[in-house]
Symmetry: C2
Subunit: 243 residues, 2 copies
DNA sequence: ACAAAAGTGTTGTACGTACACCCATGA
DNA sequence: TCATGGGTGTACGTACAACACTTTTGT
């Protein structure tokens, strides 16, 4: 069990910043997606980490990991920081999702810049982190603030983007079989895909490089592929990506 | 000439709010697109309104219309307000673009929630507004802050979205010919489209309702169409649209 | 009659989908 | 040898691009 810094994990009322005066504060939260194999159905499911709130607004409820924007860090940096504080690793993909700023979304005025991220399952540390639990995206409990709505929007964005980019690769390790890649698509889209047609589509996309290694099982071995690193995970347009 | 409230038009340093203490402030700006017929080329061009800065950071440069987020208004409301203060009208389409928060993008820490909007040319008031000028998006001068970058991103989003939604309709009046609609697409995409194929595509989309009125010119009259109001201008996913 | 734009028809290509079929391995 | 998934072949339908062609107006 690892203990992380609590003040930054939990947006809301902290000892350092009070809501006594009438100011607008900026928080940064992140919806972090990864895949986990469901033991019962033996199928991949989309899961995300949530943090249990230990303080007043919505105490006891689960919330997205996040924290206050530091005066000297960019929005991207704040997202990376809060994400690292939760999972302890760097995401394979990180993109700004939306700015939420309804007046009544929190006591005191809080504008949340929300990011969404993809993490490869093999990069998640084994050990648990205090107050953090991974939930299936399809079976979330009632969350704090407007976070249910936020996760819904992030899932919509993920499903959309999987259709016209190669972000699905952000959920797989370096080498993978086409069946594994197909399972990622099927988990995100929520429907089965024809293996033959999927193979041709993804082969003709130019994103895959075949290796000469194979994954063996109780059937014909499957060729392992890796990504073409020259192709970006997703087209971000003219926005500068800072690393 | 109409004089608008200056303090809200110009984000930066105002008399009411100083940058003496170390706080992060939230501004809202909007990239407002409309079409204007270029007199020389006789072709439609994308134009947007800019405000000349009359105060310290980047005084004299042109900037996006915007203002500070009010404590008691939502982000959407703030965008609508600043937009109304500039053009005096309600946009046909308004969508959040991105939150810009680089540390050095402004003296003092400012996070800008940027929106983009479409306005029909016939809804723009005739009279000029003080310190506001409309520029062709393709020929912008050096702008204040990171606003050149912001406009580039807004244009990218507009060009993308025109391919898979009917937002182009947000730039036309109630009734229009297919040639007029096609000219909107051509202006945004920057290339000519085949009239015959364009007609079939847009007719099969289910977005258009033919009227029995015609636009006459020095050629065969063209049928006027109107929009199918049942179809949203663009799919915003699960985000609640507040009016 | 002619120009110019509206509107229709036809054809080829690319691509997604459905599905039959063969291949290679472990048990 | 059988089951299982890997991998190939093929046929069909839809969508789009290219472009020839007809229609209807103003001048």
């Amino acid at each position: 069990m690892v203990t992380m810094t609590q003040t930054t994990l939990i947006p809301g009322i902290t000892s350092a910043e009070t809501t006594t005066d009438d100011v607008t504060r900026v928080a940064v939260s992140t919806v972090i997606f990864t895949l986990r194999r469901d033991p019962v159905s033996d199928r991949a499911a989309i899961v995300l980490p949530l943090v249990r709130r230990t303080r007043d607004p919505h105490e006891g409820l689960w919330a997205l990991p996040g924290g206050w924007l530091d005066t000297s860090e960019s929005l991207d940096a704040a997202a990376s920081r809060t994400l690292a504080e939760t999972t302890g690793i760097a995401p394979s993909y990180l993109e700004q999702l939306y700015a939420f700023g309804a007046v009544d979304r929190s006591p005191g005025r809080v504008v949340s810049i929300v990011y969404w991220a993809l993490v490869r399952p093999d990069e998640i540390p084994d050990h648990d982190v205090e107050n953090v639990t991974w939930f299936e995206a399809a079976q979330l409990p009632l969350l704090a603030f407007d976070h249910n709505e936020i996760v819904e929007y992030a899932l919509w964005r993920l499903r959309n983007k999987v259709g016209y980019s190669r972000i699905a690769h952000g959920l797989l390790a370096d080498e993978f079989t086409l069946a594994e890649l197909r399972e990622v698509y099927e988990s995100i889209l929520g429907r089965r895909l024809d293996p033959a047609n999927f193979r041709r589509q993804v082969e003709n996309s130019g994103n895959l490089i075949p290796t000469d290694r194979f994954r063996t099982g109780s059937h014909r071995p499957a060729r392992l592929y890796r990504y073409n690193q020259d192709v970006e995970l997703a087209d971000r347009g003219p926005l500068v990506v800072r690393h």
